[in-house]
Subunit: 526 residues, 2 copies
């Protein structure tokens, strides 16, 4: 399969004007082909086709959607080596990482196929008619979750597959029954086209209407703006920078009919190390922390960018160990020049804040976008006084915040803005005394981690990835794991309808678990 | 119990400056006492106390919260006649209506007590550790819904009890574990104080911290603005006008940390009458419709304000019957002068739109705020061309939209903005052919009603009250029914914690249904 440099709009290759080309961040080489810039007409056609699919309930059959998700995984697996080859050129990520991420991507697609087959996401709640009730009869009421409509997906640069065109956002939107219009990421348009084509073919494989998926390429803000402002779009999923997420969120709220934006915008993922844990396992924690910061060249949304410690006689050796493990060797190649420059700049700016000392900045290596890790430190007072220190440094950097008492540690926790995660390293004796710290942290995160590291996000039923603002736009939802489907559903209640006019899943003969008159029951086959 | 004209702040009577007095809408009489205007210091104290309750997880015990809700119902029942007496003076609502609404209010409080006791709202999802998994072990992951924090409640004028200080918003927020700061409604401040005192006493009865509830009185926008902008507030519930809801929503989105606003802002609740149903039951539908429009003097959020019909030989007698049933007699007394003037003004404005004809405006009766019903009509083309006709007329008015084919009926449905409800009257033969109409309507409503009327909202598990923008700010939530609790919860994932450090409901010994490793299981008593 060769890359054509086109949009994929409702089953068709669509060419157009543009000048976007990918750049190899290791070598600086400019890659062919040129990709077009989506026009407002392209957007109209893609959204119009998606809206027709939605209005005709053409993807209402959950079995069909499960097949679609599985077909997508098969199609992606089938062109795996091609994706890896192009992906390594466009992103500088190593082969093993790309292949691992493809595995995760296909796992996610299949996970959502099983979520759709199980059907719990529809959450059918039925209250049967009580004709004799006094003072008034009760009508028959049946509520279930319904697809919200066409979803615009803006993929991430740091997970070109698992949070790209076929990533968790597309998989969960499709699972919910929503057509997807994906905006190609300008840093890896070739990967987007390859994966987009696999999705397009999966739609064809299972016989769903082509409007179920479109890919629009482009590098200007106009493409994203036009997409979000289109009245046919009902929700937006985005993974990227805070500036990018906020700008989409503002656009969506400025529409005549505002729509939800599920934006993952970054986090410093603070790690709290308590003194007894530091004494018992300081060296091990330092090594684990260094590994977590260096993972993916620090380009993970759960990278631990703040480490809160209590200064004592063990601090010096911990810092020493951390400095060596983190900074002695180059970390790797960043995804593109923008991110690379942004990282160097953010470390410079953080270094210049009041009270911040640079412990070490590691060697960057020879690649065009190669970087070293950065270890900085600051006293808790300066940290609390300066909210700018909480800005995410996207890359392999971490800031040690030194406290001198448990109270000061609580003060730091209280000053934190919303985060995806917070981590606590403590002994079991220590944790038993930390309920106020845990309560403060719980209010500020989506996930609390004990004696581990925040990177390495499980993709399952129990994962909660979203955290309070500004880590994400809405802490009530997750973009990772099975619950991500809930972002693209809303409840609709059907009152008094005859069986034949009800949606399939609310009919008396429907199979599966239903909540009926206050109890969970298995609906039989009719 | 006499009414003191005070705020109730975290267990204390707090007096202050102000000039607000209630006015009897039947007689025009000005009622004593004077109520104060909440200052920013009042707001600080109330929110600070609420935030302490939240941060200390002082209301974390679900049993305690169930007791609180039941105690509130008991306390309200105990002063029922006093509430009714003052309520009739402040609102002009008849005694039976006030007593019925008190019944509903206490039913809601007890419903949420049972929701809390059952515990399903916590939605605990557990994935146990897999130490041997390849390539990486899986940590122990436990997620459950956690209270979002202090909630600001702005009650409705049209349901002074069921959507007032102790209404569905307060009941569901408390059920979720959130402290409530209620803003008293300036049209019925005396009812607010009486009910607020019952809530304050219920908090004391069960031994929860006083910060669980505060009532702030006032008539200026500053009170509401100050409350919403306070960083300690985490969510807002509002029932009222579109202008009011949008203004709160904008304030909340303009905060440094935006918060969700659950605003119910009105709806025209279109009713579609298909020809065979019209032929079979035209007179009966006209009578039912007139009753639904007149109910509560048209001051219900589900009042049917638009009726879409297909012109044929049965139309004339239907209109005639509707005109008589709706308009011949005065409807009653509106809640206050603002609403009364707003209704007359809105009917005048609608009457002046292009193509609108007034069929009848009924007699208003003698009360200061007495009104008659209004019946208007317009051709479907004019209706579609003029979105202003979709503005809610708050009161007993309805606009007949005449179509000449099923296609035109679909065109009207497509042109509708978001609604709480849509209703279809049809025979079973007709409904079988209406899937495209039902799909269009489903996308625009929270509840679809068949061969019935939209007023008369059930308060149970299956109710979905919220509809798409602008009927509410967010169609994914409901303010009526058991699911209302979900508005005030967010998921938090606990990874790798020892049992003793977990929230009670995630510990191994917790009682109740849990989702464990992909299956629903009963956790045993330890």
């Amino acid at each position: 399969m060769s890359i054509q440099g086109v949009h994929l709009i409702s089953g068709e290759d669509v060419s157009g004007q543009g000048s976007l080309r990918a750049i190899n961040p290791s070598s600086g080489e400019i890659l062919e082909p040129i990709f077009p810039e989506a026009s407002s007409e392209n957007i109209d056609v893609a959204v119009g086709a998606a809206l027709s699919v939605h209005e005709e309930r053409a993807a209402a059959d959950p079995q069909k959607r499960a097949q679609l998700l599985e077909a997508a995984a098969e199609r992606i697996d089938a062109i795996g080596s091609e994706i890896t080859e192009r992906g390594m050129q466009e992103t500088g990520l190593p082969q093993a990482r790309f292949e691992g991420e493809r595995g995760r991507t296909c796992h996610q697609l299949r996970l959502f196929a099983s979520v759709v087959r199980e059907g719990l996401f529809q959450n059918p709640i039925i209250e049967t008619a009580l004709a004799q009730r006094q003072p008034l009869p009760r009508p028959d009421l049946r509520t279930r979750m319904q697809a919200i409509g066409p979803v615009a997906v803006f993929g991430a640069s740091n997970f070109p597959l698992a949070f790209g065109i076929a990533g968790g956002d597309t998989a969960s939107a499709w699972a919910a029954g929503c057509p997807v219009i994906a905006k190609g990421h300008p840093a890896h348009p070739g990967v987007c086209e390859l994966v987009g084509r696999a999705l397009q073919e999966a739609v064809r494989d299972v016989g769903l209407p082509a409007g179920m998926f479109s890919l629009l390429q482009g590098e200007s803000f106009d493409v994203g703006t036009g997409l979000i402002k289109h009245p046919g779009i009902r929700a937006v999923a985005f993974t990227g920078s805070r500036a990018g997420g906020l700008s989409l969120w503002r656009l969506a709220n400025g529409r005549e009919v505002p729509i939800p934006v599920f934006a993952e915008m970054g986090s410093t993922n603070p790690v709290f190390i308590l003194p007894a844990a530091m004494q018992q396992r300081g060296q091990q924690i330092a090594e684990g922390l260094a590994g977590s910061v260096r993972l993916g060249v620090g380009q993970f949304c759960t990278c631990p960018g703040v480490v809160v410690i209590l200064s004592d006689e063990n601090t010096a050796s911990f810092k020493d160990e951390l400095r060596q493990s983190l900074c002695d060797e180059p970390v790797g190649t960043m995804l593109h020049k923008g991110i690379h420059g942004g990282y160097e700049n953010a470390v410079d700016q953080l270094s210049a804040r009041n009270g911040v000392k640079v412990i070490a900045r590691g060697p960057a290596g020879d690649d065009v976008c190669g970087v070293g890790a950065s270890l900085l430190q600051v006293d808790f007072k300066n940290f609390i006084a300066d909210p700018a220190m909480q800005g995410e440094v996207f890359g392999p950097a971490t800031l040690l915040v030194e406290c001198h008492s448990l109270e000061e540690i609580n003060d730091v926790a209280r000053a934190l803005e919303g985060q995806l995660t917070a981590t606590v390293h403590a002994t079991e004796d220590e944790i038993a005394e930390l309920s106020s710290l845990l309560h403060l942290l719980e209010d500020r995160v989506g996930r609390l981690v004990f004696n581990d590291f925040p990177t390495g996000v499980e993709v399952g039923e129990s994962m909660q990835h979203g955290g309070p603002w500004p880590a994400t736009t809405d802490s009530r939802w997750t973009s990772v794991g099975a619950a991500a489907i809930q972002r693209f559903l809303r409840p609709v209640c059907w009152q008094g309808f005859p069986d034949g006019a009800l949606p399939e899943e609310l009919r008396s003969g429907a199979v599966g678990m239903r909540r009926i008159d206050g109890a969970w029951q298995e609906f039989g086959n009719s």
